[in-house]
């Protein structure tokens, strides 16, 4: 039986390692540091969102930490702990539980994908830690909403009533069409815009779903070309949008149908991906009108990347949380939550205030703008 002890030792060791290894939080929290968590997709299909969001947060972090936050006379610095959610609910929930329980953060930024936001929102109430989402679009994230979960950008349901009247004014369409990514973002965009269009007497005649990873859209665009709607909304990530608009131009869809892109298609990156000629004369819904060139230059110098709304949201989100901590003058998450409710901050994207209205809770409200690409320039349409 001499083998027994050796085996027993191995099992006990593995068991101990499993437990200790997991709760490997830093033992003595550094008194001068405020820990804020950030959960976002850095790998998988949604990796673009996470990368851009992180860039915005880093820029804001430098500004905040330069002068530090003084709480009851003590200067503090912010430290961000980021984990990958791969746009998968179980991973996002694991991130939030680790941030809350292990890293003991006072506030959380993220997630980007609506499926993850919907999974982590109830947890924030459970752990009583405030969280600000970067770009989740689905209505159900803040409707009925959660006490500890905040969203700055307007949800799909809010964008439609603000955007559609002006779209109807521009195109005066009778019929409309949709070609959208087959995920929570794509479907919530289509559902709310289709409903709002119907209120204005515009009939939706064609709806095309494509799966993430699809690169050839000629199949769907040919159907849209046959039906010839007056305006066609194309919804997805910016790389998908660039492909759609190029292939639409190639097949001649744009001869009878005006192309109207979702939020990502108002980004400068569309110009670099698709080229000025392909996007000439197309419109897009934009989450930011114009942003001061100095910030755009800072982003280009630092990351050699064009402006993207996720950068802006990440930047604003961190500043909003920093302001809330400063006004709360405490590291108690509940006090920070109360301070967040009273946020009144002029951000890059617009005036940030979290209100509860029309069944929404802790939801920001601002009017999205409409952009038109004219000879390679992103012009804001009033």
């Amino acid at each position: 039986m001499k083998k027994l002890p050796k085996l027993l030792l191995v099992i006990v060791l593995v068991g101990a390692m499993v437990v200790l290894g997991l709760s490997s939080s830093t033992l003595a929290a550094d008194p001068k540091v405020i820990k804020i968590g950030y959960t976002a997709p850095f790998t998988g299909a949604g990796a673009e969102y996470g990368t851009n969001g992180w860039r915005g947060i880093q820029l804001a972090l430098e500004e905040v930490n330069k002068k530090g936050i003084t709480i009851k006379g003590e200067p503090y610095k912010i430290e961000i702990i980021r984990y990958d959610s791969i746009c998968t609910p179980t991973e996002a929930v694991a991130n939030v539980r680790k941030l809350a329980m292990e890293d003991k953060v006072v506030a959380i930024l993220g997630d980007h994908c609506s499926s993850c936001c919907m999974a982590i929102a109830p947890l924030c109430d459970e752990f009583k830690i405030p969280a600000v989402t970067i770009e989740c679009a689905a209505d159900s994230v803040t409707k009925p909403g959660h006490e500890f979960y905040f969203r700055m950008r307007p949800s799909m349901g809010l964008m439609a009533p603000l955007g559609i009247p002006r779209i109807v004014k521009i195109f005066n369409p009778k019929t409309a069409g949709f070609i959208n990514i087959n995920d929570d973002y794509g479907h919530s965009f289509r559902d709310s815009f289709k409903a709002e269009l119907a209120k204005h007497g515009v009939e939706t005649v064609v709806e095309e779903d494509f799966e993430r990873g699809t690169t050839d859209f000629t199949v769907y665009l040919t159907k849209i070309k046959r039906v010839k709607p007056d305006v066609a909304f194309y919804v997805g990530a910016i790389s998908e949008g660039a492909l759609i608009v190029k292939q639409a131009r190639e097949i001649g869809v744009t001869d009878q149908t005006a192309l109207f892109g979702a939020e990502e298609m108002a980004e400068m990156e569309l110009l670099s991906l698709a080229g000025a000629e392909a996007i000439e004369g197309t419109y897009a819904l934009a989450l930011w009108g114009s942003v001061d060139p100095a910030f755009a230059k800072r982003v280009m110098d630092r990351f050699n990347a064009p402006m993207h709304y996720a950068i802006i949201f990440g930047y604003d989100a961190l500043h909003v949380v920093a302001k809330a901590i400063e006004s709360a003058q405490s590291l108690d998450p509940v006090k920070i939550k109360d301070a967040l409710k009273k946020t009144d901050y002029q951000g890059l994207e617009g005036h940030v205030k979290f209100e509860s209205f029309e069944g929404y809770k802790n939801q920001g409200r601002f009017v999205p703008s409409i952009v038109k690409w004219v000879s390679g320039q992103r012009t804001v349409v009033e």
Binding site: K6, V10, V19, L22, N95, S115, A119, H187
Partner: protein, 310 residues
């Protein structure tokens, strides 16, 4: 069963029982997922480890179980305690219906076909908006109704529920594998023609193993649905099937407790690497290749070599 392994199992169960008492909420959550994956890898081992056919659609049955149980409770007002067994039986029958024609295909053809079947189930869950609410995810799933005064909305109660069913399922698998039915399955894995020549109805047993393995994955799905209370198709995509295969292989196919150890080790490894997002899947696939290169029988193979067995 060697005395040493039996003690090792008893010690592990004791450790698992005491974890919620002193571990943080995050550790409990991770161990619950690890246990669910242990049920998945153990049930996967019944098919690929013991009976032979290599399949890549185990996450599809996990997903079908989760959505079936969630929809039964949401749409028909059934309680978890009724939906749980019904889900297991439904996924078992569904797998038998799909498995019968599929298992006529042999070797690599079968592996690649299951790869596609898994993706097709993912597409179905994603695209049937009316049934599964598609990409918007299924919310508001109620935790199991409280029995014996235990309120299952707390994570510790869910932990013990998953542990209880986990031990039951693994116990059932252990009895099955040690019985003559298990020996027949292994005969099929070793040599299908010879097994047929000694009177084993190989197609029946293969479909049986495929269906039991799927039904148990469906039960794991049901447990997950009522613990996590929010379902989205991405949790059941082919990447998860891939993960189950790696866990089972790293643990050691055909040993039942190998894949369970594999689930724990790989899940622990993924949590350790959580701060380095980009590296997770690179290191995972390198781990698989190393196992294939140096010890195809996985951790159990290594343990056996240490204990100087065959």
């Amino acid at each position: 069963m060697f005395v040493a392994s039996r003690i090792a199992i008893a010690v592990s169960i004791i450790i698992l029982i005491f974890i919620p008492q002193f571990a943080s909420n995050y550790v409990i959550y991770v161990v619950i997922l690890a246990m669910l994956f242990a049920i998945l890898t153990a049930s996967y081992d019944l098919l690929t480890g013991y009976t032979g056919p290599l399949s890549f659609c185990h996450a599809a049955f996990y997903g079908l179980g989760a959505y079936t149980s969630a929809l039964l409770t949401l749409r028909t007002g059934m309680s978890f305690w009724q939906a749980f067994p019904i889900t297991g039986i439904w996924v078992f029958l569904f797998a038998a219906a799909v498995g019968y024609p599929a298992l006529k295909i042999r070797g690599h053809y079968f592996a690649v076909t299951t790869f596609f079947f898994g993706h097709f189930v993912y597409l179905f869950l994603l695209n049937s908006r009316k049934l599964t609410n598609g990409p918007l995810g299924l919310r508001g799933i109620r935790p199991p109704d409280s029995i014996l005064g235990i309120d299952f909305s707390s994570i510790t109660a869910s932990y013990y529920l998953v542990l209880f069913f986990g031990v039951l399922i693994v116990g059932f698998l252990h009895l099955l594998v040690k019985s003559r039915i298990g020996r027949s399955l292994v005969s099929i894995r070793e040599n299908e023609d010879l097994a047929e020549s000694i009177g084993i109805n190989t197609s029946f047993y293969k479909v049986l193993a495929f269906s039991i393995s799927a039904g148990l994955a469906g039960l794991a799905g049901s447990l997950f649905a009522h613990f996590f209370r929010f379902l989205h198709p991405t949790d059941f995509a082919w990447m998860i099937s891939e993960m189950i295969v790696i866990m089972a292989l790293v643990g050691g196919l055909g040993t039942l407790f190998g894949p369970i150890i594999g689930a724990g080790v790989v899940k622990f490894f993924l949590e350790l690497v959580r701060p380095a997002p980009e590296l997770r899947f690179i290191l995972l696939s390198i781990m698989l290749i190393l196992v294939l290169l140096f010890e195809p029988k996985g951790l159990v193979g290594i343990i056996r070599r240490i204990r100087g067995e065959k």
